[in-house]
């Protein structure tokens, strides 16, 4: 494996073993290729996210790991065994469904006990495991409740307990938080992370919410049009996007077309910029520069910094904790975010409409995207 530039966000040690390996997995619906030759290794105990817009193939990929769909080509290896043709009821994985798919004619207890009952576990043992699961999700005493009497968050947790009580090797989560409101979602993110860390079960988490993926994951695979655009540790995905799609889909990004004039220097409509050492370019090469809005520095007085240019403040968006400036320079619009710290020091000033400001691109913060083929609009 190539060395990663960033360590995992939580600096956790992941298992050496591969929990799930996908080899050239392809799935077509009619003549539409939904999953296109995906290769992937997910490690033991990893919190792995499949992130992408709707229709990118992430759910289909998850369904193939669960066994609900069979790939048209490729192999799915779970726990070292080829499971490509194995039906879902014989796979050592369990799923938390987007709509929870709880059994409406069963109590909470019966729902959670279902998998254990299928395994023919003795009754008293089942009762113990159900108790354990209810405590795990912090809902003890809810055994006899009907699931339709419970709130969305509670049902989500029951779905989680119903899956986890079976001690799967891998837990598959299909956008489990998407139906909940923001506050609850943020709480459950933390709960999910803690649970995963405590149980040490490999989680494969499908989401279209980039923040969710960033907060929880050890590694993220960003998917687009059935392919993995980029795969890497969470910070790497955010800090070093390899394609314009990733740069735009994960957080906000300013993309600036550029042409190399030297191995470490490019020309753009905003001026000439020097780049960080890592990115050696062929002169004449067309690339995209990506810079995150929060990494752009603004000054009232000209600072002594490289990559400086003048821009006009076109719009100011006040979000409370941040001031977002829309800058115009060289016919291009740039998004820039500064923390609303309420101090007037160089680098922390607040600016007004139509003010001419100095903009500095720190060379290390300029990410060069050599793959300019993928569209800049992730929603196109």
């Amino acid at each position: 494996m190539e060395p990663t530039l960033f360590r995992s966000r939580r600096e956790r040690k992941l298992g050496e073993h591969i929990a799930v390996r996908l080899e050239g997995v392809t799935k077509r619906f009619g003549d539409q290729v939904v999953v296109d030759n995906v290769n992937l290794e997910i490690r033991d105990g990893e919190f792995f996210s499949l992130l992408g817009p709707s229709g990118c193939g992430k759910t289909t990929l998850l369904r193939m790991i669960a066994g609900f769909d069979t790939p048209d080509a490729g192999r799915i290896i779970i726990g070292g065994k080829d499971m490509t043709q194995v039906p879902p009821y014989l796979r050592p994985v369990n799923t938390v469904f987007q709509n929870y798919a709880l059994f409406p004619h069963m109590t909470v207890e019966q729902n959670i006990a279902f998998g254990l009952r299928m395994k023919k576990m003795p009754r008293d043992q089942i009762a113990q495991r159900v108790q354990w699961a209810l405590e795990l999700i912090n809902l003890p005493g809810y055994e006899k409740r009907r699931t339709d009497q419970m709130s969305g968050g509670q049902r989500q947790r029951i779905a989680l307990a119903r899956a986890l009580v079976n001690e799967p090797e891998v837990l598959l989560l299909d956008e489990p938080l998407s139906a909940l409101d923001l506050k609850l979602r943020q709480e459950l993110r933390i709960d999910l992370m803690n649970l995963q860390e405590r149980l040490g079960i490999t989680f494969i988490f499908v989401t279209h919410d980039q923040e969710e993926a960033l907060v929880m994951s050890d590694r993220i695979a960003v998917m687009n049009k059935g392919r993995i655009e980029q795969l890497g540790p969470t910070e790497e995905i955010y800090e070093l996007p390899k394609t314009a799609f990733v740069a735009k889909f994960i957080g906000d990004s300013n993309l600036i077309p550029a042409q190399a004039i030297e191995p470490r220097k490019v020309r753009t409509a905003l001026g000439e910029f020097v780049l960080d050492d890592e990115d050696a370019l062929v002169p004449g090469q067309e690339v995209l520069l990506s810079i995150r809005p929060e990494k752009i520095r603004l000054f009232r007085e000209k600072p002594n910094l490289p990559n400086l240019f003048r821009a006009k403040v076109d719009d100011i968006i006040y979000t409370g904790s941040e001031n977002q400036y829309v800058l115009v320079a060289g016919g291009q619009r740039l998004m820039c975010e500064t923390l609303n710290q309420d101090i007037q020091e160089p680098g922390h000033e607040e600016f007004t409409y139509d003010e001419e400001v100095w903009v500095a691109f720190t060379p290390e913060k300029l990410v060069v995207i050599q793959d300019t083929a993928s569209g800049s609009n992730p929603y196109a």
Partner: protein, 287 residues
């Protein structure tokens, strides 16, 4: 909404809302049933009119004559087996329609027979089953001797199943249509094999529809007389035929009323058992 203040206002409100329905029920269900109950306690006059003395003699006659017991037994028997056949056909059919891409068309096909009068549809079966009919045409085309299909119990079964199948399929379809199919996947996911998964995750959710369909089919199938009359000839006499006969050519309204009351009592007994097993909600689902 303003609170009703005087008792008069409250009464007026009740009359406006519940009144018309209650009136309809009283006029067309309660009063006729009471009339029939009274008639069943009376006797036949020499001209076929209803006359005293009052008494339980019609009921005693009904239950003491093995012929009538046999008729009731046969009605229940044919009604029961017709319902079983309908369930065997209708249960998969409802699922097939619910998951089909053409479910609107298929539902329309289920409902279309209602556009034609029931009697005419039963006559249509005569065309199929008669000696030179469609079915025998098919049989003889294969070089086999023509079958004696009319009148026969077989023909009665076929027409009964045909007639009441939609009454079973429609309520069941309504139950099946509401099922969230990811529950089946959830059951697989939790280790249930396909048949087990269906039985545990899906089947229980269709039980109310199954009961509703059963009653909607069984009750009229037991009481039918037209099908047995036209396709069963003199061979198959059902309780419906008996009642029709008493009110018609036999001119014994009193005895016909008693037979009707017995039939109704059996049906109500069935409903009561249903309510007992399904709880009060069960009856709501039925309606």
């Amino acid at each position: 909404m303003r609170e009703a203040t005087t008792p008069w206002e409250r009464l007026r409100r009740v009359l406006f809302t519940v009144g018309p329905g209650a009136l309809w029920l009283v006029l067309f269900i309660l009063i006729p049933t009471l009339i029939m109950f009274v008639a069943s306690l009376m006797s036949r006059g020499s001209l076929g009119q209803l006359v005293p003395p009052f008494g339980l003699h019609n009921y005693l006659r009904f239950f003491s004559d093995p012929l009538f017991i046999e008729i009731i037994g046969r009605s229940l028997w044919i009604g029961f087996w017709s319902t079983v056949f309908i369930m065997l056909l209708g249960y998969p059919l409802a699922f097939y329609i619910a998951q089909s891409r053409y479910k609107e068309v298929l539902l329309l096909l289920v409902v279309i027979p209602f556009f034609t009068n029931f009697l005419i549809r039963v006559y249509a079966w005569i065309v199929v089953f008669q000696k030179e009919g469609l079915l025998n045409g098919l049989i003889t085309a294969f070089g086999l001797p023509p079958a004696e299909l009319l009148p026969s119990t077989f023909a009665v079964y076929v027409a009964t199943v045909y007639t009441y199948l939609p009454f079973f399929v429609l309520p069941l379809y309504a139950a099946v249509e509401r099922i969230d199919w990811s529950q089946l996947e959830a059951a697989y996911d939790l280790g249930a094999r396909p048949i087990r998964a269906f039985w545990e995750a899906i089947f229980p959710q269709t039980v109310p529809g199954l009961f509703a369909g059963f009653l909607l089919v069984f009750i009229p199938a037991v009481g039918t007389f037209v099908i047995a009359d036209l396709l069963g000839g003199g061979k198959v006499t059902l309780v419906g035929n008996l009642i029709q006969l008493q009110f018609g050519s036999a001119q014994n309204w009193a005895f016909g009323s008693a037979a009707s009351m017995v039939l109704m009592a059996m049906v109500l007994l069935g409903l009561w058992l249903y309510a007992r097993t399904q709880g009060e909600k069960g009856l709501d689902k039925l309606v």
